[in-house]
């Protein structure tokens, strides 16, 4: 065997992978685009915009994302899921947040992992192939807490003094939930540290309302 041949198997293998990754990246970029569109829709929350129309507009964009996930699933064979996971993990966390936010706005409910997975058109469990990995779902919840903490402040500006209380209850639950988890020192852990500040901010809004006897 000559030097040139030495790694030639590997080279062709990496070449395939290279081409494959490019395809995946293209789809991921489309997903990013979906997320940016959702962000624009959600900005309405902070300006009196009607919840119902936010949700319906949001769901339309999510359906778009669903199609993109379908493309991803078609591209991937099952077992390569974890090999390339890092490529779509970032955007999936964000889209998971978007789904959770829509569910909250519609029903004040905490979207389960199953609900979110269904909204994105993917599986909820590792056993079933391309799925919503737990980290992404949890990440989405933490993003949600951040956005709701911002919203609680703007609600008062808009004149809605009931919503902050609901947010307080809701994020409080998320907070207790997370305390049950033993997070390692990773990305999730770092984001989780931000939850404390979000919670503090919401607590401050509720405090401001309480001390003024509003909502009594």
């Amino acid at each position: 065997m000559s030097e040139g041949e030495l790694f030639s198997d590997i080279e062709s293998c990496l070449g395939d992978e290279h081409r494959f990754k490019d395809k995946v990246r293209d789809v991921v970029q489309d997903l990013e685009q979906c997320y940016r569109a959702l962000e624009v829709v959600f900005q309405g929350m902070h300006r009196k915009k009607n919840k119902t129309s936010i949700c319906s507009e949001g769901r339309i964009v999510l359906d778009d994302a669903k199609n993109k996930y379908k493309q991803l699933i078609d591209l991937l064979s099952d077992k390569q899921y974890y090999r390339y996971l890092h490529l779509w993990q970032g955007v999936t966390g964000k889209l998971s947040y978007a789904s959770c936010l829509i569910v909250y706005l519609e029903s004040n409910q905490l979207a389960t992992r199953e609900t979110v997975a269904e909204m994105l058109g993917i599986k909820a469990n590792a056993e079933n192939g391309f799925h919503l990995c737990l980290d992404d779902y949890l990440c989405g919840l933490l993003f949600l807490a951040g956005e709701l903490s911002r919203w609680s402040v703007n609600c008062v500006t808009i004149g809605d003094t009931k919503e902050p209380l609901r947010i307080f209850e809701f994020v409080g639950k998320i907070d207790s939930g997370f305390r049950l988890l033993n997070l390692k020192n990773d990305f999730l852990r770092k984001r989780y540290d931000g939850l404390k500040y979000d919670m503090k901010r919401i607590e401050q809004v509720v405090y401001d309302l309480s001390i003024r006897g509003i909502n009594k």
């Binding site: 030495l6 198997d9 080279e11 290279h18 390569q80 389960t112 639950k173 939930g177 909502n215």
Partner: protein, 271 residues
């Protein structure tokens, strides 16, 4: 504060249940991860020891046999540990835990490649040295174990090809050390191209050439890219150090080497 009664639907209990399930899933994953990490750390340490052991090898025929035996036993011992990893990850996607065993695996590949060379260097010359470079294929074979519950099946430890490249890259460092350490013993040799130093250098050159092609492959993450670049830099330095040894040997040859030398060196060592 007013307690909104319409919020009962997501009760604290529900959340606890939900997160309780997450906790179970996370803990299970972390536990598995932790177990793999611990074995991997052992694999790293034992592989390093195998390398040290190989550096201590005495190339004189009878002793070589004996030391090689020792090395092979240690190698099997490490394989046993890697089998444990393979079994632990049998039913899950191993790519999820690559980071947990990557360090150990790379050190194992390095040690194996080094052992391979020492085992077979007498059978080859500088021209066909490539044949004793540990291949990806050989690594895969090592990491296919027979299933204890069903001997017809095999349990494989799968891993990304980068791991192989990163592992094998490191072996040049060990080759370089051996090349310098053993240069004195190559001195007496009439045909330098058959000397250990020249073979080591040919091996490192071949690996360096093959590897330098890969480093230019662009589609790897930024982090891995840096990693590769760094390995190549070290490798280039190693090649040059080996080449210096050959240069010196050749140059000394010009001063008409005597067999006296070998005797002198031996004498001094045995005192």
């Amino acid at each position: 504060m007013a307690q909104d009664s319409d919020l009962q639907d997501v009760s604290a209990n529900d959340v606890n249940e939900l997160f309780g399930a997450f906790r179970k899933e996370l803990d299970a994953r972390y536990d598995l991860h932790e177990k793999v990490v611990k074995i991997s750390r052992d694999v790293t340490i034992e592989s390093k020891r195998l390398i040290f052991l190989l550096h201590r090898i005495d190339f004189t025929a009878e002793k070589l046999e004996n030391s090689l035996q020792q090395a092979k036993e240690k190698h099997l011992f490490i394989l046993e540990k890697l089998k444990k990893v393979a079994v632990l990850l049998k039913d899950v996607d191993t790519f999820q835990f690559v980071r947990a065993f990557s360090a150990g695996l790379q050190e194992f590949i390095e040690a194996t490649a080094f052992m391979f060379f020492i085992e077979k260097c007498n059978e080859v010359n500088c021209e066909n040295i490539c044949s004793i470079i540990l291949s990806m294929h050989q690594v895969t074979d090592f990491l296919s174990f027979s299933d204890e519950t069903d001997s017809s099946k095999t349990v494989r430890l799968e891993f990304p090809v980068e791991e192989y490249l990163l592992g094998i890259a490191d072996v040049t460092g060990e080759m370089m050390r051996l090349c310098i350490n053993s240069s004195a013993s190559s001195l007496g040799q009439k045909d330098l191209s058959k000397s250990l130093s020249f073979k080591l250098t040919a091996y490192v050159q071949a690996l360096h050439n093959a590897f330098s092609i890969f480093v230019h492959i662009v589609d790897v993450s930024q982090g891995l890219r840096k990693h590769f670049d760094e390995k190549l830099r070290t490798m280039t330095a190693n090649v040059k150090k080996c080449e210096d040894v050959c240069y010196t040997l050749r140059l000394r040859g010009h001063e008409m080497p005597h067999d006296i030398l070998k005797a002198t060196l031996m004498e001094a060592t045995e005192k």
